[in-house]
Structure formats: structure tokens, C-alpha cells
């Protein structure tokens, strides 16, 4: 592999530096790094971030290859600046055996756009009844460390307790989709004044908060770590904040859409805004941003959820939950967090690369992610131009699906190039 010299990149938003990459590894960093045979990239004005890591991606393969494949989803990931994604288990068949997770992992390697870290199901078939073979998945080639029934909640307290305990043996983590099922039967949108007015079944905040509260206490009781998926309410933030103050082993994620969009968007009944958990109030959005800034919420995770056109081109009740997220995540975070002064680029690197890699335990081993931009580290890099503004065009997406909630919105920042172990997995036309 030839060497690459990235010139004048602002590493984590700092002063311009040159980054020399050879054989997939950062070999020099500083000003005036040079090598005659290297491909030179002029990164003047661009921010260099460690390759982003998504802890929550739906790649839909196997089973719904009409919506997304591992190949298309990871291509979208590379375009969004990601070098690793955690593929959720709610495929068909469900990723509840070593066989399925290895298949997904292998498809990721073959595609080569980003490393795919499969998430294993907690229970067989996501049914919430019997534990899946968590150990077998952990020991498989996929090396699963994150387990989740995402899409449904592990609502049985006893089962959740056992799962939390069991994964301690291989340093796994349960990522909980916090949704009390009885409180959300038939629920369609955030419960509040608007749901009452629109006649859509309300999805109360307490349905999330009750599970978050229970699970941090269960995790404390059994001494396991628990990760809360897509935190969406101010109340959940308060619970997690309190738990962290007490030193409890809880981590939490927030999606880009919950950092930007509010339930007011539902007023036109456009199912592009239908998502689980639902878009919440402006007060919730403000609390989530603040929590991400102060570290109460550890990471941003996309919950990239592709759906075919017909799943959204219908009445609200009949529509599927979920939104695309990989390609717009960094722009939304820049808009909601960086441009508002809540987070600097080093903070973005932490919330979107270091911390998710740490939680997913993919920050070590042969091919680690979420490592600092430093000599000797793998060259997983994302170059961002923060000065651009782009109108989101769904048809330009690498995803097979088009269900972005940002269609027509102007968002800041462009991922100009993504490097996975020194190899360029994405570049815009503008750089050479």
C-alpha cells in the first residue's frame, strides 16, 4: 500500500498538522511531514477526527435486503465518516446464534467499507422469553460484545437480571431498548398536548424512564454494566445523571434526530417523522443536548433504520418506525452541538468515536477503533469540512432506502473523506 500524506488538517479542530499514513498506520504527525512517494491530500480547512463508530445501526441483512444490505449500509456509513458500525440483531433470521452474527460479520469484511461489529440478540427470536446463546456469539469470529433485543424491550425483570449477570463472563454489555410494553401498546407519538390533539395514541416518557430506572438499579445490584439505547426524555437524563453520580455502571446513547427534531413535526402526519422512541418535546431536546455536552449521555448513536418506500408512503398508523441516520449524523451533531458551542471537535471525537468503541469493546484487539490520532495508531480517520452547508437530498443517499427526516433541510458540514486503516473508503469529488 502506498503512503498517504494529509496536509494541513486540523486534528480535532486544533492547529493545522500533516498526517502521514503508511501501511494503514499513522507514522508521522506534525508540520512538514514529507515523503516523496506519498499520495498528497490537501486538507487545508478540514477537521480530522478519528473514524466514527456507531453503536446502533440497522443493516437489515439478512432478511430485508430491499431496505438495506450490509454492503449498502456500510457504504452509507463510510460516507457519514464511520469506520465501524454495530449491526443490530433484529434481522430475519434474528442474529441470535453464532451462525447469523458470523454471516453478518463476514459480509462486512467482504464489502470493506467499514468494520461491521454484529450485535447479538439477548433472547431467542427477540421474544423476551429465553436467553440466546450469548457465549457462543461472544466466542464466534464476530466476537460479539454488545447484546440487545433492540426494537423490543427486555421487559421481564428476571430475564434482564440474568442477562446482565451472564455477560459479565466475557465483558459483554446489554444495550437496553427502554420501552415498557404495556404503557406503549399501540403508541404512535410522544404523549402530550399534541398527541391528544392529533388523536394519535400517546407514548409517555414514563414508559422509557420506568425501564431506565429499573435497569440501572438491576445493573447496580448485580455489578454489571448496562447501556441505554436512544435515550429520549429529560426524565431519563435525570435518572442516568443520578446513577452516574452514584458511580453506577451505566452508559447511554442519544440519536442525532433526538438532538434536533421535536414532536411538533408530527402535526402533518408525515410518517418520515415516525420513530421509536418518538420525537419528544423541545424541553427534552434541550435536556439531551445538555446531557451529551456534560457527559451524562456518553455517545451519539445513529439508530440508522432503513425502510422501503411503501413502509412510509402510507397513513401514520400503518407506517414503520425509524429514520436513516448514518450519512447525516455528523452534520446534525455539528448543527446541534458544535455550532451551538455545547461541544468542541474533541468532544465530538469522544462522543462519536472513543466512547462508543469503548462501550462496544472494539477499542482493542488487532483492528481497534476509537483510538486517538497519534503515531502508531491505526489510520482510521474522517476529514470534515465544517464550513459547507448542504440541502439534504434523499436520492443522493448510498442507502437503499430514502426515509430521511431531514429531506430539504440545510445542514452544515461535509464528510470529505473517510479512511479505514489508511484506505480511503469515501471521498467527495472535491479532493485529490
Amino acid at each position: 500500500m502506498t503512503a498517504t500524506l494529509i496536509q494541513n488538517a486540523r486534528v480535532l479542530g486544533g492547529d493545522p498538522q500533516d498526517v502521514l499514513i503508511d501501511d494503514g498506520v499513522i507514522v508521522a504527525l506534525g508540520t512538514g511531514a514529507a515523503r516523496e512517494d506519498a499520495d498528497v491530500i490537501d486538507a487545508t480547512g478540514l477537521i480530522a477526527l478519528p473514524g466514527l463508530v456507531d453503536l446502533h445501526t440497522h443493516l437489515r441483512e439478512p432478511g430485508r435486503e430491499d431496505a438495506e444490505t450490509v454492503e449498502s449500509g456500510t457504504r452509507a456509513a463510510a460516507r457519514g465518516g464511520f469506520t465501524a458500525v454495530h449491526a443490530m440483531a433484529n434481522t430475519d433470521p434474528v442474529a441470535d446464534t453464532a451462525g447469523v452474527v458470523e454471516q453478518v460479520w463476514r459480509l462486512g469484511r467482504e464489502a470493506g467499507h467499514a468494520d461491521v461489529r454484529p450485535v447479538g440478540a439477548v433472547t431467542i427470536g427477540l421474544k423476551g422469553e429465553r436467553l440466546a446463546e450469548l457465549g457462543a456469539m461472544a466466542e464466534s469470529a464476530a466476537g460479539v460484545r454488545v447484546f440487545s433485543d433492540d426494537g423490543v424491550c427486555v421487559h421481564d425483570a428476571q430475564l434482564m437480571r440474568r442477562a446482565l449477570e451472564y455477560v459479565k463472563a466475557f465483558d459483554g454489555v446489554i444495550a437496553q431498548h427502554a420501552q415498557e410494553p404495556r404503557l406503549t401498546e399501540g403508541a404512535q407519538m410522544n404523549e402530550g398536548e399534541l398527541s391528544g390533539r392529533l388523536g394519535l395514541r400517546g407514548w409517555p416518557s414514563v414508559a422509557e424512564e420506568a425501564i431506565v430506572a429499573r435497569d440501572v438499579m438491576l445493573a447496580a445490584h448485580v455489578g454489571s454494566r448496562v447501556h441505554i439505547c436512544h435515550l429520549s426524555t429529560r426524565g431519563s437524563v435525570e435518572i442516568v445523571r443520578l446513577a452516574k453520580e452514584r458511580g453506577l455502571p451505566v452508559t447511554a446513547e442519544v440519536t442525532p434526530h433526538h438532538l434536533l427534531l421535536t414532536d411538533e413535526l408530527v402535526a402533518g402526519y408525515d410518517p418520515r417523522y415516525k420513530v421509536n422512541p418518538p420525537l419528544r418535546s423541545a424541553a427534552d431536546v434541550a435536556a439531551l443536548r445538555e446531557a451529551l455536552a456534560d457527559g451524562t449521555i456518553d455517545i451519539v448513536a445513529t439508530d440508522h433504520a432503513p425502510h422501503p418506500v411503501e413502509a412510509k408512503d402510507c397513513e401514520w398508523d400503518a407506517a414503520a418506525f425509524g429514520m436513516l441516520g448514518l450519512e447525516t449524523a455528523l452534520s446534525v451533531v455539528q448543527h446541534a452541538m458544535v455550532d451551538t458551542g455545547l461541544l468542541d471537535w474533541a468532544g465530538v471525537a469522544d462522543r462519536m468515536s472513543y466512547a462508543p468503541a469503548r462501550i462496544g469493546r472494539c477499542d482493542g484487539g488487532d483492528q481497534p477503533h476509537g483510538r486517538p490520532i497519534a503515531v502508531g495508531e491505526p489510520a482510521n480517520l474522517t476529514l470534515v469540512d465544517p464550513t459547507t452547508t448542504t440541502t439534504v437530498d434523499p436520492s443522493a443517499s448510498a442507502s437503499l432506502s430514502r426515509n430521511t427526516p431531514y429531506e430539504g433541510m440545510k445542514l452544515p458540514g461535509t464528510v470529505v473523506a473517510t479512511f479505514l486503516r489508511g484506505r480511503m473508503t469515501h471521498q467527495t469529488g472535491g479532493i485529490a
Binding site: Q188, E191, G192, E193, L194, S195, G196, R197, L198, G199, L200, R201, G202, P204, G268, Y269, D270, E310, D313, C314, E315, W316, D317, A318
Partner: protein
């Protein structure tokens, strides 16, 4: 006039008054006449698109459209492709291809008429004939029309709406329309059947029916499905009836001239006793008659002229 009638809240005071005044004329033009038919909508096609059974609403719209000489096509879930899982979109495209000028839609999903009107699938005017637990604007218009005929202008009149507000599209549309018309509305229901956020609605709320009846000019009873008790909204039909049903004792708490309304179909013995439903102050049967006039007015105003976009 608005292009689609999706929510009672879309009607300004002028729009609402225009519809009610026009309905008055429709009544005068057809009541007691040998020939009830007017040629106004000749050559226009009105499609009744009913994804949910409602013989009375469909019949009312059908009669209204036919009295205006429109061609009426009934699409219902039974006996058409709707029951075979054809999507709302495909149905809409079919109607567009058939040249529907107006689509009257009833759907179990809240907001389905919005989707029809705003997704670009069809050009026809859309009239919401009841969507899920959202709205039923023509019901609110016929209720207001009925009350206005007896009480005069509704500004300042005290209207009490009782029952399952949470699941009632009739209540939502009535609150919005009556607020526009300047009436004082009080919703009365057990706390479980009032929606979260009802405090922000343009009305008062109460859990106490007896207390609300004293100054009422009209009392509207909502249908309560006994299935609700299985979902723990209330303990039993008997307890509901005792606390929130309108019986002769409670009717005596109302001023003697106060009206009793019900959108139908009634559960006699549940939310209203037979004596009250059939009493002299009950205008429940009249509501049905008035429904045709109000729907004629809506169809006339929406379909007879060119729509304002074309004219502009």
C-alpha cells in the same frame, strides 16, 4: 373557503359561519319540496371512501351529494380491494385516475385524510368524514347547526360535552369549532378518558357531571364503548353510567330549555337513558336530518366553484 376540510380547526369564524348559513339555505331549498334535488354539482364525482364501517355517515354524505346531483361512487372496505390490503396510496391513485372531484374519507387511522390531501397522490378536494380518534369536522358542523337553530348564535352559549373524550373525534372537532364560534365548552369525563394535555385545549374540564349541568345551554353525550372498561378506563358499565350517564334526575339539573345531543349511535342505558334520549329537549333525530344539510353545504362550497388556486 378552504380547499380541504380536514379539521374543524381549519375553519375560520367566517368560513364556519358561511357553512352554517349555507346549510340554512340548503334546508330551505329542500325542506318540504317535491323536488329535493338541485342541479348544482351535475357532472362532478364524489367518492365516499370508507375504510371503516359507518352506514349513517356514508348515507348522509351520499344523500347530500345526490341532492346536489353529483355522481356518487361508494368505495368501502368490504367488497373492494381495500380489504385485500391495497394501500391508501394505491386507492388514492385509482380514484385520481377515475377523475374524482371530491373524496369523502373515513379511516380508522388518525391523519389518513391529511395524507390523502397533502401527499400529492390526488388533486381532489378531501373531506374528513372521521379519522381514527382525531376529528370529524362535519359532525361538529351539524351539531353547531342544530344548536344554532334552537339557541341562536352560539357565542357565549355554554355547551357541556360528556364522555369518552380521549377516543372521541366528535369531541375534538366540537371543541375546536365551538371555540371558533365563541361558545364556552366544558368537557366532563373521568380523568382516564381525558387526553394528556387537554389543559391546553380551548375549553374547561371537569370530573363532576352534576356540577356542570346547572348552567348548560346544551349537553352533548358521547358514545362510550363498553370495551373501554376492559382496558381499565373505568371499572364497570354500571359505575360509568352512574357517574357520567345522563338520566332523568340529571336532566332536571339542567335548565328547562337546555338541549340534549348525541352523535349516535347511542348506547341507551349506558351514557344516556331512553327517557332522556326520547325527551322533548332531545334533538338527536334532528341532528341526523341536519347532517344532510351541513354536508350539502360543505360539498357545495368545496366543489361547486373553481378552487381558489385555479382561479388565482
Amino acid at each position: 373557503m378552504i380547499r380541504h376540510l380536514l379539521s374543524a380547526g381549519d375553519l375560520s369564524l367566517d368560513d364556519a359561519t358561511l357553512v352554517l348559513d349555507t346549510a340554512d339555505e340548503m334546508a330551505r331549498l329542500t325542506e318540504g319540496r317535491a323536488v329535493k334535488k338541485l342541479p348544482t354539482l351535475r357532472g362532478r364525482t364524489v367518492v365516499n371512501l370508507f375504510f371503516e364501517d359507518s352506514t349513517r355517515t356514508r348515507t348522509s354524505f351520499e344523500l347530500a351529494a345526490k341532492r346536489l346531483s353529483a355522481d356518487v361512487v361508494n368505495f368501502s372496505a368490504k367488497g373492494s380491494s381495500l380489504s385485500k390490503g391495497e394501500s391508501l396510496k394505491d386507492t388514492a391513485l385509482t380514484l385520481e385516475a377515475m377523475g374524482a372531484d371530491g373524496v369523502v374519507v373515513r379511516h380508522s387511522a388518525s391523519g389518513a385524510p391529511y395524507r390523502l390531501a397533502t401527499s400529492g397522490w390526488i388533486n381532489a378536494c378531501v373531506v374528513n368524514a372521521g379519522d381514527g380518534t382525531h376529528e370529524h369536522p362535519t359532525q361538529a358542523l351539524l351539531d353547531a347547526f342544530t344548536m344554532r337553530r334552537h339557541l341562536g348564535e352560539l357565542a357565549g352559549k355554554r355547551i357541556v360535552i360528556v364522555g369518552d373524550v380521549l377516543h372521541s373525534r366528535v369531541a375534538r372537532s366540537n371543541v375546536l369549532l365551538l371555540a371558533t364560534l365563541g361558545a364556552d365548552v366544558t368537557l366532563v369525563a373521568p380523568p382516564t378518558l381525558l387526553p394528556n394535555g387537554v389543559d391546553a385545549w380551548p375549553c374547561a374540564t371537569s370530573y363532576d357531571l352534576d356540577g356542570a349541568l346547572a348552567g348548560a345551554d346544551a349537553v352533548m353525550m358521547l358514545r362510550v364503548q363498553s370495551e373501554r372498561m376492559n382496558a381499565a378506563f373505568f371499572p364497570s358499565a354500571r359505575e360509568y353510567s352512574r357517574r357520567y350517564g345522563l338520566d332523568t334526575r340529571r336532566q332536571r339539573l339542567m335548565p328547562p330549555e337546555a338541549l340534549v345531543l348525541h352523535p349516535g349511535p347511542m348506547n341507551r342505558g349506558m351514557e344516556i337513558t331512553a327517557e332522556v334520549a326520547d325527551s322533548a329537549r332531545s334533538v338527536i333525530v334532528e341532528q341526523v336530518t341536519n347532517g344532510v344539510y351541513v354536508r350539502m353545504a360543505v360539498l357545495y362550497l368545496m366543489l361547486a366553484g373553481t378552487n381558489s388556486e385555479e382561479a388565482a
